[in-house]
Subunit: 337 residues, 2 copies
């Protein structure tokens, strides 16, 4: 039976006891730098859930940390920057990423993974942060609720901002190209916080950089997924960035999202991860609604954002079974395989 | 010269040195319970900025705290609940608000204010939290990023949820009616976190309660403002709740928002408060864009969310002058007063 493919953002993570047992409490960047550990963590949800894709265990600050910008990821807090990006002088602290030299462990992790994943016939999705979301950490110095410094820099010094995003676009592109060369068969560009922006700012000051990354992958022929949270007002713009699949959170029903992104692109999403903490009948009803609204074009079932740490893995297991047991029924063709 | 009216959410607050001097570090609930202090704090931005409205210095948890649900507002954190709402038994801990007995200080504050505001010819906007946003604090026990418990309760026990929201709607309605009786000449219903919900959940489980509040004020003949953050997908529904003015954050340009709310309603917003920390030319450009996009129907200039504590009061002062010096130019009539 043909079914919609399903995987979960942060399917490898704190919701899994086997992840917590393996990872301990250290920085995620240390774990990412250990290929055997990172490969094992990437495989855990594939083995447990039978999801239709693995996603490389990584973090959006891996490239900037690797070139020595002074970034760490503090457990329970997120990325923190020693000396935030504040002026043109800070451009000198950034340089192009040379993946083979700067992040050899990422490529080694992928090489360890692809043999095993090939046997399971499961594709590996490569991982990169989009220029805006990475820049927001560099400028703010850590997680933010307002992005006030980021928005101020973007507006007050647009040329400097554009240069910053261009450097970060080149890093993301180099990283993703190297991941594909090492064996990844799809990529996801995480612009998690783009939804904090107005459409005008997004179009002028962010879209060109994301487009550089996604268009720069076109010759590789791998599916490109483009994701952000709270992006209802940006979907028509994100659809122009060069992705094959646009990720959507639960705020926009998939049938509405499909009208906004237009024809020719697939959708990914969009079950609310908070609902995975509700009783199973609630989750099941919602998942069926997501599947129904996702019809009429390409759809990859996912959550609308990452798995919450308190999620019961049994619920994700049941979700995979529900999606796998729901036949694709495309009203565009009336076909029920 | 006729101009768009302007005020700022949280115009009375930590951005003002005279506020910090007066308030000190105690709980906001203690300050709200002192009518002379609360009245003075309410007046401070009116005197400093010459805004076109005062908003009652208050907090969305005032009614639930006043009836003894066990809520405090922790500085730097927000509302915290001793024993969160978890089951039908907790309904017994809620009761109707009797404003004259439970929150006499609110009414006394308003009575102190109206004389002074009448002299200044400035209206006072009454203040209440909307049922969903208040419920989210009661259920989560404090601020949340995911609203997982709230969404789970809403979906798993819809009848209990509806009863909770109905009690909170009655409290908000009683509070706002008493505020108008004491002299408030408009009201704002704050549903700050409604944007976390899908349109389906909002329509089924939240809109009826907000409608009860707003429709329940209809006979009083005062303008009713309805506000939330990240509500782009909900505007067409919020427009059905019975408000005269719908508040919008910066994510939705006002011309787009106007199409979504339809004819007959005014808009309030929507300058990004984060941009108020940018250099003045950036703020001014953005404010002019907001004014331009707000044309063609009623518009109250405001920020898209509350003033950030780091905001320079001089910027808000300049914003008021900019709005006051911009003539209303309505393309619908071609009239330039």
């Amino acid at each position: 039976m043909e079914h919609v493919p399903v995987w979960f953002m942060r399917q490898a993570g704190r919701s899994l006891p086997e992840y917590r047992a393996l990872r301990g409490e250290g920085s995620i960047l240390e774990a990412i730098a250990r290929p055997e550990l990172a490969a094992e963590v990437t495989l855990q949800p594939v083995r447990r859930y039978g999801v239709d894709a693995a996603i490389l265990f990584s973090d959006i600050v891996v490239p900037v940390a690797a070139i020595g910008f002074g970034v760490d990821v503090v457990p329970g807090r997120g990325p923190v920057v020693d000396q935030p990006f504040r002026s043109a002088a800070d451009l000198g602290r950034l340089r192009p990423l040379v993946p083979e030299q700067d992040t050899p462990y990422v490529l080694e992790t992928i090489r360890l993974l692809v043999g095993e994943l090939d046997r399971l016939d499961v594709p590996l999705i490569g991982f990169a942060g989009a220029p805006f979301t990475v820049a927001s950490y560099l400028v703010e110095g850590g997680p933010s609720r307002t992005y006030a410094r980021t928005k101020s820099l973007m507006r007050a010094e647009p040329q400097l901002w554009d240069r910053l995003l261009d450097v970060l676009a080149d890093q993301a592109l180099a990283s993703l190209r190297s991941q594909v060369a090492a064996g990844a068969s799809a990529v996801q560009l995480f612009d998690s916080w783009a939804g904090a922006l107005s459409p005008v700012d997004y179009e002028r000051r962010v879209l060109p950089a994301s487009r550089k990354v996604l268009h720069g992958l076109a010759d590789l022929g791998v599916p490109r997924i483009h994701f952000g949270v709270g992006t209802g007002e940006l979907l028509h713009l994100m659809a122009q960035a060069g992705a094959d699949v646009v990720g959507v959170d639960w705020r926009v029903p998939l049938d509405v999202a499909r009208r906004r992104i237009g024809p020719g692109l697939a959708l990914q999403g969009n079950l609310d991860p908070a609902l995975c903490l509700a009783p199973w009948p609630v989750v099941a009803d919602e998942a069926r609604d997501v599947l129904t609204r996702g019809r009429g074009g390409g759809h990859v079932f996912n959550l609308g954002h990452g798995v919450l740490p308190d999620t019961d893995p049994a619920v994700l297991q049941q979700l995979v079974e529900l999606v796998h047991n729901t036949a694709v029924d495309d009203p565009a063709t009336g076909r029920r395989p």
